[in-house]
Homo-oligomer: 124 residues x 2
């Protein structure tokens, strides 16, 4: 852990800039950095993700974990041992190096937050 | 960052054990560990916090940061430069070493997630 300086911040999700993620294999995924490097957060970063109906994140793996909380909608987490359904108010842990994909199987948008250790960023 | 092993997990907030936090200066605060050491999460931990109407977390400081997302209710974040109001869907960053307190000023329960770097735990 690095000790860090920064400014206390209270800011609505909707007031953060939203950008499509530029990863091959993703469809209909927008991301907002809620707490990140610009805030002085040096240990881990909180991102907000919106996946349109029928959309999905890349089916991929990396050497760091995800900690996720589903805020709205429903879908499946594709894993090597099968699809794991999820819905709002589910907490999800994806260990480092596990293949994974978030798929929106609902009728409306899927929204979740997804945290990663700094300075990793699988959205680029 | 430590590379880690663990098991993929999808589990509802409500299915996690809820315990009062045992910190002096807290009133009406329950905490659930959503993603923590038992899951193999070695870099940061996700906790779910419920503060009853009229309740508050301790007014304190520590050498690590908080990353918070308000899920339900409203309140104020007490800081050295004044009270900062917050409501559901606000993202909050509390830098290391800043004095802070979460106060529920609404009529119902306040719920948020609060992440900390591992292995810190300000709930004990």
């Amino acid at each position: 852990m690095s000790v860090q300086s920064g400014t206390m911040k209270v800011r609505a999700i909707a007031d953060h800039e939203s950008n499509p993620i530029a990863l091959e294999g993703a469809k209909g995924v927008l991301m907002r950095m809620l707490v990140g490097p610009d805030d002085g957060a040096k240990n881990f970063h909180m991102r907000h993700v919106t996946v349109e109906a029928g959309g999905y994140s890349p089916h991929h793996q990396h050497d760091y974990e995800h900690e996720v909380l589903i805020l709205k909608g429903s879908g499946v987490l594709r894993a090597d041992d099968g699809d794991k359904p999820f819905k709002s108010n589910d907490a999800i842990f994806v260990p480092a190096n596990d293949m994974h994909q978030f798929r929106n199987t609902g009728d409306g948008p899927l929204e979740f937050i997804c945290l990663i250790p700094a300075p990793m960023d699988c959205s680029k």
